[in-house]
């Protein structure tokens, strides 16, 4: 039913029309990351070779995924970890709940995990009486504001300091007028410490899982995953099955690229490797499928499983930078979200492939060489083939196809358009209700004549354009 479909353009309008501060600031912060990424990429002369290597290591692992998962399991168990397998989000959440109940856990401290986000784990656990605290600052901000993360690396990047000062004032009693980032950060640090110390279980995700050693790697800048994992005697890690890589030698390539691609830093402040539990503790690993094995069987889309969740495609995307991650109405936003979300729910996210200018910048920066823009185009085809186009798009495409396939009709329409654009009142073209994207920009002036007329005039003696 149509009310289930996410309308990114509407959500984008909400962000674009908010005020004169949010959108330009968001755009600027993400572009800064992109510029830093370019500088760091340039510091490795072999960067382009690395992209190719990273892509091939991931392709190799994914085409041997069954073997690498089995190898990972054997080695993780050897280190004393308990390995669980979850087919779906529901199974994942149930396994977590069962483990927590066996240990009489009431309070969980967790670091950032897109997989746990994807599984809707927090609402599920809360429904069962377990309190869950996000320990990453950006995630914590989003949790307090009851919003999804808007970016996979900087979850609250769409918020201003003023937004956060007001939010913290409401929840942790800070001064609503003090917008100093140091003050706000320190207040949250002091607020979070007792929650770390009180928790009876810690949860993390994983950036990489190494088959050769049965280890997994968690990358953070705050050290929050490490604090969680070092305190309570129970650590549960949720790992998507596509996170596997063969060896630590391969890992070096990815660690050198991940944070450089994400924020333009050389590595994350903490790059932490877990191989089995601490002394007198338990480590549970939940290898989760949730649609990934199915995606592996989609010839056009399986390479999206190479994604290492760096967010470079978001930082560079002109649509994302101006409309924010919330405009995608999904766990995964940005260009990568457009190609991941429809594999989770094709109908709900059928409009997402159009939330793109197809400029191709995402493909250019992707450290594992996913042809993101190509896949977006491919998803548009799938949506059309599966008759998921909105009425407006269907009519527009039909008219477009009719005109474009008949040159004479095209030229008549073209000349007509020249006239009508000039006649159309400005408020109709740039009305915020119809076109949020029109705000802050003007149409370029139309040429005085069509290309066809110009060509006929100037190239009379050339070979004629065939009608």
């Amino acid at each position: 039913m149509s009310f289930n479909i996410v309308h990114p353009e509407k959500l984008a309008a909400e962000f674009l029309n908010k005020d004169k501060q949010h959108e330009p600031q968001h755009d600027e912060h993400l572009w800064t990351s992109r510029v830093k990424r370019d500088k760091e990429a340039a510091s490795i002369p072999e960067w382009e070779e690395f992209r190719e290597l990273a892509s091939r290591i991931k392709q190799h692992t994914l085409t041997h995924l069954d073997q690498y998962l089995e190898q990972f399991e054997i080695n993780a168990v050897k280190h004393g970890a308990v390995v669980h397998w979850a087919r779906t989000a529901e199974e994942h959440n149930q396994i977590v709940l069962d483990i927590l109940r066996q240990h009489s856990v009431k309070d969980v401290i967790k670091s950032k995990s897109m997989l746990q986000e994807e599984c809707g784990m927090i609402p599920f656990l809360e429904k069962h009486g377990i309190s869950v605290t996000e320990s990453d600052l950006g995630e914590r901000i989003q949790q307090l504001d009851k919003e999804q993360p808007s970016h996979i690396v900087v979850p609250a990047v769409h918020k201003t300091k003023e937004d956060i000062a007001r939010l913290f004032a409401r929840h942790i009693g800070t001064d609503p007028n003090n917008t100093d980032a140091h003050y706000l950060n320190d207040s949250m640090r002091k607020h979070a410490r007792p929650l770390f110390l009180k928790a009876q279980a810690a949860m993390t995700g994983a950036n990489f899982a190494i088959a050769e050693t049965g280890s997994f790697v968690v990358c953070t800048n705050e050290g929050n995953a490490d604090i969680g994992a070092s305190l309570p005697p129970l650590h549960i890690a949720s790992i998507g099955i596509e996170k596997l890589i063969p060896t630590t030698e391969d890992l070096a390539i990815f660690i050198r690229m991940l944070s450089r691609s994400a924020l333009g830093s050389k590595i994350t402040q903490y790059t932490s490797h877990f191989s089995g539990p601490r002394k007198n503790s338990e480590l549970h690993i939940i290898l989760t499928d949730n649609g990934r094995s199915k995606r592996l069987g989609m010839p056009e889309f399986w390479e999206s499983l190479k994604c290492i969740r760096c967010g470079a495609c978001m930082n560079t995307c002109p649509v994302f930078r101006r409309s924010s991650g919330l405009s995608y109405g999904a766990v995964y936003g940005g260009p990568i979200g457009i190609i991941l979300d429809p594999t989770i729910d094709e109908k709900k996210y059928s409009e997402l492939p159009y939330h793109s200018s197809l400029c191709g910048s995402c493909t250019e920066v992707c450290p594992v060489k996913i042809d993101i823009s190509g896949q977006i185009r491919q998803w548009r085809r799938v949506m059309a083939d599966h008759k998921r186009l909105s009425l407006i798009r269907r009519l527009a495409f039909k008219a477009g196809a009719a005109v474009l396939s008949r040159p004479k009709l095209f030229r008549a329409a073209e000349a007509g358009a020249y006239g009508s654009i000039k006649l159309l009142p400005h408020f109709l073209i740039y009305n915020n209700l119809f076109n949020a994207w029109g705000k802050h920009r003007e149409m370029p002036p139309f040429a005085k004549e069509t290309f066809h007329d110009w060509y006929q005039k100037n190239h009379e003696n050339d070979e004629h354009i065939q009608d």
Binding site: L53, I57, T63, D66, E91, E222, R278, K279, S293
Partner: protein, 198 residues
């Protein structure tokens, strides 16, 4: 339930996986992106990550430096024999008891010139919480133990022998509020490397 899920997932993968792509062979990349003196590069990148460094000759000098840098510090917890702290640490120490540590001291196994990070395991920390709970960190490092880049680093690392190992690059940091860079998000507020031969 668990075993069915495992079988189902592995069966689905076997059914769906695309044609095998061979594993690329990795050439020696241990000099990639590295030009110049390793120690000088390490120092430069450590600074960029907001870490400090000092060169000292003895454990006594380290203790004196800690007093000078943190005159108000009440609890100093050291995992390295060169420095005698005020709070003992043993493998069975409850990690929660480190919540009030002002300065944590340990020795890192090696440093990485490419990014100014140090490699540290539970063996060096005695308990892992020592690496992240203290307000400030003092880390001893043998100046001769600097490797070039992450390729060289991962050759040194023995993941099979440690349940925890971390590349730590400077103190804890965040830019989640208004993209302003702030140190001391959750982990240590500051990190100083002391070059002191082992």
């Amino acid at each position: 339930m668990m075993s069915t899920s495992r079988t189902d997932i592995l069966t689905a993968i076997r059914k769906n996986k695309p044609a095998a792509v061979p594993r690329p062979t990795l050439r020696d990349l241990s000099s990639s992106g590295i030009e110049g003196d390793l120690l000088a590069l390490f120092k430069k990148h450590l600074k960029e990550a907001d870490g400090e460094f000092y060169r000292l000759e003895s454990g006594k000098e380290v203790s004196a430096l800690i007093k000078k840098l943190f005159p108000d510090a009440k609890v100093i917890c050291s995992a390295t024999p060169e420095v005698k702290g005020s709070r003992p640490i043993k493998p069975d120490t409850d990690p929660h008891s480190l919540a009030d540590v002002d300065v944590g001291v340990f020795r890192a196994k090696f440093g990485v010139a490419e990014n100014g990070a140090i490699w540290v395991t539970e063996e060096d920390l005695v308990i892992t919480a020592l690496g992240v709970l203290p307000e400030h960190l003092i880390v001893l490092l043998d100046p001769d133990r600097i490797v070039s880049n992450m390729h060289a680093a991962y050759r040194e690392v023995k993941l099979d022998e440690h349940h925890y190992g971390c590349f730590m690059m400077g103190p804890s940091a965040t830019a989640d509020i208004g993209a302003v860079h702030v140190n001391g998000a959750q982990g240590s507020r500051s990190l100083a490397i002391i070059f002191l031969a082992h």
